[in-house]
Protein backbone atom coordinates (compact mmCIF):
# COMPACT_ATOMS: atom_id res chain seq x y z
CA UNK A 1 0.00 0.00 0.00
CA UNK A 2 2.85 2.30 0.89
CA UNK A 3 4.49 1.56 -2.44
CA UNK A 4 1.29 2.44 -4.29
CA UNK A 5 1.00 5.72 -2.42
CA UNK A 6 4.60 6.59 -3.16
CA UNK A 7 4.19 5.74 -6.84
CA UNK A 8 1.02 7.76 -6.96
CA UNK A 9 2.75 10.73 -5.38
CA UNK A 10 5.60 10.47 -7.89
CA UNK A 11 3.47 10.10 -10.98
CA UNK A 12 0.76 12.57 -9.92
CA UNK A 13 2.21 15.28 -7.67
CA UNK A 14 -0.49 17.68 -6.43
CA UNK A 15 -0.71 20.57 -8.83
CA UNK A 16 0.26 23.99 -7.57
CA UNK A 17 -3.09 25.44 -8.62
CA UNK A 18 -4.96 22.85 -6.59
CA UNK A 19 -2.86 23.58 -3.51
CA UNK A 20 -3.48 27.30 -3.98
CA UNK A 21 -7.18 26.58 -4.22
CA UNK A 22 -7.11 24.60 -0.97
CA UNK A 23 -5.08 27.28 0.80
CA UNK A 24 -7.40 30.01 -0.47
CA UNK A 25 -10.44 28.10 0.77
CA UNK A 26 -8.73 27.49 4.12
CA UNK A 27 -8.00 31.21 4.50
CA UNK A 28 -11.53 32.14 3.53
CA UNK A 29 -13.16 29.72 5.97
CA UNK A 30 -10.76 30.70 8.76
CA UNK A 31 -11.66 34.32 8.19
CA UNK A 32 -15.45 33.87 8.28
CA UNK A 33 -15.92 30.92 10.64
CA UNK A 34 -16.14 32.84 13.93
CA UNK A 35 -18.61 35.41 12.66
CA UNK A 36 -20.58 32.65 10.96
CA UNK A 37 -20.73 30.83 14.28
CA UNK A 38 -21.91 34.02 16.03
CA UNK A 39 -24.63 34.53 13.44
CA UNK A 40 -25.71 30.89 13.70
CA UNK A 41 -25.69 31.03 17.49
CA UNK A 42 -27.91 34.12 17.48
CA UNK A 43 -30.44 32.23 15.41
CA UNK A 44 -30.37 28.65 16.71
CA UNK A 45 -29.44 29.57 20.34
CA UNK A 46 -27.48 26.40 21.01
CA UNK A 47 -23.69 26.15 20.73
CA UNK A 48 -23.57 22.57 19.48
CA UNK A 49 -26.33 23.16 16.96
CA UNK A 50 -24.62 26.36 15.80
CA UNK A 51 -21.34 24.50 15.31
CA UNK A 52 -23.15 21.80 13.32
CA UNK A 53 -24.78 24.42 11.14
CA UNK A 54 -21.45 26.14 10.43
CA UNK A 55 -19.74 22.82 9.72
CA UNK A 56 -22.51 21.78 7.32
CA UNK A 57 -22.20 25.10 5.52
CA UNK A 58 -18.42 24.70 5.21
CA UNK A 59 -18.69 21.17 3.85
CA UNK A 60 -21.37 22.17 1.38
CA UNK A 61 -19.39 25.17 0.16
CA UNK A 62 -16.22 23.14 -0.32
CA UNK A 63 -17.88 20.20 -2.03
CA UNK A 64 -20.33 22.06 -4.23
CA UNK A 65 -18.79 25.45 -4.87
CA UNK A 66 -15.08 24.94 -4.15
CA UNK A 67 -14.22 25.27 -7.82
CA UNK A 68 -16.11 28.56 -8.23
CA UNK A 69 -14.16 31.84 -8.24
CA UNK A 70 -13.20 32.87 -4.72
CA UNK A 71 -15.06 36.20 -5.06
CA UNK A 72 -18.31 34.23 -5.07
CA UNK A 73 -17.54 32.24 -1.93
CA UNK A 74 -18.72 34.79 0.63
CA UNK A 75 -22.31 35.27 -0.60
CA UNK A 76 -22.54 31.56 -1.42
CA UNK A 77 -21.32 30.55 2.03
CA UNK A 78 -23.76 32.84 3.81
CA UNK A 79 -26.55 31.71 1.50
CA UNK A 80 -25.86 28.12 2.56
CA UNK A 81 -25.56 29.18 6.19
CA UNK A 82 -28.90 31.02 6.21
CA UNK A 83 -30.56 28.07 4.48
CA UNK A 84 -29.14 25.71 7.09
CA UNK A 85 -30.34 27.99 9.88
CA UNK A 86 -33.81 28.13 8.34
CA UNK A 87 -33.88 24.33 7.99
CA UNK A 88 -32.79 23.97 11.60
CA UNK A 89 -35.46 26.37 12.84
CA UNK A 90 -38.14 24.50 10.92
CA UNK A 91 -36.99 21.17 12.33
CA UNK A 92 -36.90 22.63 15.82
CA UNK A 93 -40.41 24.02 15.43
CA UNK A 94 -41.72 20.62 14.35
CA UNK A 95 -39.80 18.87 17.14
CA UNK A 96 -41.17 21.27 19.74
CA UNK A 97 -44.70 20.69 18.53
CA UNK A 98 -44.25 16.92 18.63
CA UNK A 99 -42.47 16.85 21.99
CA UNK A 100 -45.07 19.12 23.54
CA UNK A 101 -47.47 16.19 23.33
CA UNK A 102 -45.21 13.75 25.11
CA UNK A 103 -43.05 15.49 27.68
CA UNK A 104 -42.67 18.74 29.59
CA UNK A 105 -40.19 21.24 28.18
CA UNK A 106 -36.59 20.53 29.27
CA UNK A 107 -34.69 23.35 30.93
CA UNK A 108 -31.41 22.44 29.13
CA UNK A 109 -29.24 23.30 32.15
CA UNK A 110 -27.42 19.98 32.06
CA UNK A 111 -26.36 20.44 28.42
CA UNK A 112 -24.12 23.41 29.09
CA UNK A 113 -20.43 23.02 28.32
CA UNK A 114 -18.45 23.44 31.57
CA UNK A 115 -15.33 24.56 29.69
CA UNK A 116 -17.25 27.34 27.97
CA UNK A 117 -18.32 28.63 31.38
CA UNK A 118 -14.79 29.01 32.72
CA UNK A 119 -13.68 32.56 33.54
CA UNK A 120 -12.25 34.51 30.63
CA UNK A 121 -8.57 35.39 31.03
CA UNK A 122 -8.10 37.88 28.21
CA UNK A 123 -7.16 40.82 30.36
CA UNK A 124 -10.36 42.86 30.35
CA UNK A 125 -10.96 44.92 33.46
CA UNK A 126 -14.01 43.85 35.44
CA UNK A 127 -15.78 47.16 34.75
CA UNK A 128 -15.22 46.92 31.01
CA UNK A 129 -16.26 43.31 30.96
CA UNK A 130 -19.36 44.05 33.01
CA UNK A 131 -20.40 46.92 30.76
CA UNK A 132 -19.74 44.92 27.62
CA UNK A 133 -21.52 41.92 29.03
CA UNK A 134 -24.57 44.01 29.90
CA UNK A 135 -24.61 45.62 26.45
CA UNK A 136 -24.17 42.25 24.79
CA UNK A 137 -26.90 40.65 26.90
CA UNK A 138 -29.34 43.40 26.01
CA UNK A 139 -28.42 43.20 22.33
CA UNK A 140 -28.82 39.42 22.25
CA UNK A 141 -32.20 39.65 23.93
CA UNK A 142 -33.31 42.31 21.46
CA UNK A 143 -32.05 40.30 18.49
CA UNK A 144 -33.99 37.28 19.70
CA UNK A 145 -37.11 39.40 19.60
CA UNK A 146 -36.70 40.21 15.89
CA UNK A 147 -38.48 38.26 13.16
CA UNK A 148 -36.08 35.75 11.57
CA UNK A 149 -35.68 37.54 8.23
CA UNK A 150 -35.03 40.90 9.90
CA UNK A 151 -32.45 39.29 12.16
CA UNK A 152 -30.76 37.62 9.18
CA UNK A 153 -30.58 40.89 7.26
CA UNK A 154 -29.23 42.74 10.28
CA UNK A 155 -26.58 40.14 11.13
CA UNK A 156 -25.37 39.69 7.55
CA UNK A 157 -25.07 43.43 7.05
CA UNK A 158 -23.82 44.57 10.46
CA UNK A 159 -21.70 41.62 11.56
CA UNK A 160 -20.45 40.21 8.27
CA UNK A 161 -20.48 43.58 6.52
CA UNK A 162 -22.14 42.29 3.35
CA UNK A 163 -23.50 44.99 1.04
CA UNK A 164 -27.13 45.02 -0.02
CA UNK A 165 -26.52 42.99 -3.19
CA UNK A 166 -24.54 40.25 -1.43
CA UNK A 167 -27.03 40.15 1.44
CA UNK A 168 -29.84 39.75 -1.11
CA UNK A 169 -27.89 36.92 -2.73
CA UNK A 170 -27.28 35.28 0.65
CA UNK A 171 -30.91 35.62 1.72
CA UNK A 172 -32.34 34.67 -1.66
CA UNK A 173 -34.45 37.80 -2.00
CA UNK A 174 -34.37 41.18 -3.73
CA UNK A 175 -32.22 44.13 -2.72
CA UNK A 176 -35.38 46.04 -1.88
CA UNK A 177 -36.46 43.35 0.56
CA UNK A 178 -33.06 43.44 2.23
CA UNK A 179 -33.30 47.20 2.72
CA UNK A 180 -36.77 46.85 4.19
CA UNK A 181 -35.79 44.00 6.54
CA UNK A 182 -32.67 45.79 7.67
CA UNK A 183 -34.35 49.11 8.21
CA UNK A 184 -37.16 47.54 10.25
CA UNK A 185 -34.62 45.56 12.26
CA UNK A 186 -32.71 48.70 13.24
CA UNK A 187 -35.90 50.58 14.13
CA UNK A 188 -37.05 47.70 16.32
CA UNK A 189 -33.65 47.35 17.97
CA UNK A 190 -33.59 51.02 18.82
CA UNK A 191 -37.02 50.73 20.42
CA UNK A 192 -36.12 47.57 22.32
CA UNK A 193 -32.70 48.75 23.49
CA UNK A 194 -33.73 52.25 24.52
CA UNK A 195 -32.01 55.54 23.87
CA UNK A 196 -29.00 54.92 26.10
CA UNK A 197 -27.70 51.75 24.51
CA UNK A 198 -24.80 50.95 24.21
Amino acid sequence: MLMFSAELALCCPPKEGALDETRAMDRFLAEVERRAFRIALMSVRDRDEALDVVQDAMIRLVRTYGSRPSEEWRPLFFRILTNRITDHQRRQAVRRRVLAWFEPAADGEEDQDPVANLPDTRGLTPDTELARGAAMGALEAALKGLPARQREAFLLRSVEGLDVADTASAMGCTAGSVKTHYSRAVHTLRNLLGDHWP
Binding site: C12, M58, V62, V159, L189
Partner: protein
Protein backbone atom coordinates in the same frame (compact mmCIF):
# COMPACT_ATOMS: atom_id res chain seq x y z
CA UNK B 1 -24.38 51.95 5.55
CA UNK B 2 -24.86 54.65 2.95
CA UNK B 3 -27.07 52.19 1.08
CA UNK B 4 -29.74 52.79 3.76
CA UNK B 5 -30.62 56.49 3.53
CA UNK B 6 -33.84 55.93 5.50
CA UNK B 7 -31.91 55.38 8.74
CA UNK B 8 -31.32 58.30 11.07
CA UNK B 9 -27.74 59.04 12.21
CA UNK B 10 -28.66 57.65 15.64
CA UNK B 11 -29.90 54.40 14.10
CA UNK B 12 -26.78 54.17 11.95
CA UNK B 13 -24.67 54.61 15.11
CA UNK B 14 -26.66 51.90 16.84
CA UNK B 15 -26.22 49.50 13.91
CA UNK B 16 -22.48 50.21 13.80
CA UNK B 17 -22.11 49.75 17.58
CA UNK B 18 -24.08 46.50 17.52
CA UNK B 19 -21.98 45.22 14.63
CA UNK B 20 -18.74 46.10 16.47
CA UNK B 21 -19.89 44.39 19.62
CA UNK B 22 -20.94 41.22 17.80
CA UNK B 23 -17.76 41.09 15.73
CA UNK B 24 -15.67 41.55 18.87
CA UNK B 25 -17.53 38.77 20.61
CA UNK B 26 -16.88 36.58 17.56
CA UNK B 27 -13.16 37.40 17.69
CA UNK B 28 -13.04 36.55 21.39
CA UNK B 29 -14.70 33.15 21.24
CA UNK B 30 -13.56 30.67 23.87
CA UNK B 31 -10.79 28.21 23.08
CA UNK B 32 -13.12 25.21 22.95
CA UNK B 33 -15.31 26.76 20.29
CA UNK B 34 -12.30 27.97 18.28
CA UNK B 35 -10.86 24.48 18.39
CA UNK B 36 -14.12 22.92 17.25
CA UNK B 37 -14.42 25.43 14.42
CA UNK B 38 -10.88 24.61 13.39
CA UNK B 39 -11.74 20.90 13.33
CA UNK B 40 -14.87 21.59 11.31
CA UNK B 41 -12.81 23.53 8.76
CA UNK B 42 -10.25 20.74 8.46
CA UNK B 43 -13.06 18.24 7.96
CA UNK B 44 -14.62 20.38 5.24
CA UNK B 45 -11.29 20.90 3.47
CA UNK B 46 -10.66 17.16 3.46
CA UNK B 47 -13.27 17.05 0.71
CA UNK B 48 -11.19 19.36 -1.47
CA UNK B 49 -8.53 17.04 -2.89
CA UNK B 50 -5.72 18.33 -5.08
CA UNK B 51 -6.96 18.32 -8.68
CA UNK B 52 -4.08 16.13 -9.94
CA UNK B 53 -5.29 13.23 -7.85
CA UNK B 54 -8.97 14.03 -7.68
CA UNK B 55 -9.48 14.49 -11.38
CA UNK B 56 -7.68 11.42 -12.70
CA UNK B 57 -8.91 7.90 -13.08
CA UNK B 58 -5.78 6.55 -11.41
CA UNK B 59 -7.04 6.83 -7.85
CA UNK B 60 -9.98 4.44 -8.23
CA UNK B 61 -7.83 2.18 -10.41
CA UNK B 62 -5.10 1.94 -7.78
CA UNK B 63 -7.68 1.45 -5.03
CA UNK B 64 -9.31 -1.39 -6.95
CA UNK B 65 -5.91 -2.97 -7.68
CA UNK B 66 -4.92 -2.73 -4.01
CA UNK B 67 -8.18 -4.33 -2.88
CA UNK B 68 -7.82 -7.09 -5.50
CA UNK B 69 -4.24 -7.71 -4.39
CA UNK B 70 -5.32 -7.95 -0.78
CA UNK B 71 -8.08 -10.43 -1.61
CA UNK B 72 -5.72 -12.59 -3.72
CA UNK B 73 -3.02 -12.62 -1.03
CA UNK B 74 -5.54 -13.61 1.63
CA UNK B 75 -6.96 -16.31 -0.64
CA UNK B 76 -3.55 -17.73 -1.60
CA UNK B 77 -2.30 -17.40 1.97
CA UNK B 78 -5.02 -19.74 3.12
CA UNK B 79 -3.47 -22.59 1.08
CA UNK B 80 0.08 -22.03 2.34
CA UNK B 81 -0.24 -23.31 5.87
CA UNK B 82 3.22 -24.15 7.28
CA UNK B 83 1.74 -26.48 9.91
CA UNK B 84 -0.07 -29.43 8.31
CA UNK B 85 -3.54 -29.55 9.77
CA UNK B 86 -4.82 -32.94 10.89
CA UNK B 87 -7.48 -34.38 8.68
CA UNK B 88 -10.89 -33.91 10.08
CA UNK B 89 -13.58 -36.36 9.24
CA UNK B 90 -16.73 -37.45 10.95
CA UNK B 91 -14.67 -40.16 12.66
CA UNK B 92 -11.86 -37.81 13.64
CA UNK B 93 -13.29 -34.62 15.10
CA UNK B 94 -9.85 -33.62 16.38
CA UNK B 95 -9.86 -30.11 14.96
CA UNK B 96 -13.25 -29.36 16.38
CA UNK B 97 -12.12 -30.59 19.78
CA UNK B 98 -8.96 -28.48 19.67
CA UNK B 99 -11.04 -25.51 18.76
CA UNK B 100 -13.34 -26.12 21.70
CA UNK B 101 -10.35 -26.36 24.02
CA UNK B 102 -8.73 -23.25 22.65
CA UNK B 103 -11.91 -21.20 22.69
CA UNK B 104 -13.04 -22.33 26.14
CA UNK B 105 -12.21 -19.72 28.73
CA UNK B 106 -12.00 -22.29 31.55
CA UNK B 107 -8.80 -23.91 30.14
CA UNK B 108 -6.36 -21.07 30.56
CA UNK B 109 -3.84 -23.20 32.47
CA UNK B 110 -3.87 -25.80 29.75
CA UNK B 111 -3.36 -23.16 27.08
CA UNK B 112 -0.35 -21.86 28.98
CA UNK B 113 1.13 -25.38 28.91
CA UNK B 114 0.59 -25.94 25.20
CA UNK B 115 4.31 -26.13 24.50
CA UNK B 116 4.65 -28.91 27.06
CA UNK B 117 1.83 -30.90 25.48
CA UNK B 118 3.32 -30.34 22.05
CA UNK B 119 6.58 -31.83 23.30
CA UNK B 120 4.82 -34.63 25.22
CA UNK B 121 2.85 -35.95 22.25
CA UNK B 122 5.84 -37.07 20.06
CA UNK B 123 7.71 -38.23 23.20
CA UNK B 124 4.88 -40.61 24.09
CA UNK B 125 4.67 -41.89 20.56
CA UNK B 126 8.39 -42.73 20.60
CA UNK B 127 8.04 -44.56 23.93
CA UNK B 128 5.08 -46.53 22.65
CA UNK B 129 7.05 -47.40 19.50
CA UNK B 130 9.99 -48.62 21.62
CA UNK B 131 7.63 -50.79 23.74
CA UNK B 132 6.09 -52.28 20.63
CA UNK B 133 9.53 -53.03 19.20
CA UNK B 134 10.60 -54.74 22.40
CA UNK B 135 7.39 -56.77 22.50
CA UNK B 136 7.88 -57.82 18.89
CA UNK B 137 11.42 -58.58 19.27
Amino acid sequence: MSEQPDLTPDEQRLAAAAGDLLRRSADELDATTRSRLNRARRLALAGLRPAGVRRGWLMPAFSSAAVALLIVSVWVGRGVDPVPAPEQTAANPLVAQDLDILLGDENLEMMEGLEFYAWLDPALSAAELQAELEAAG
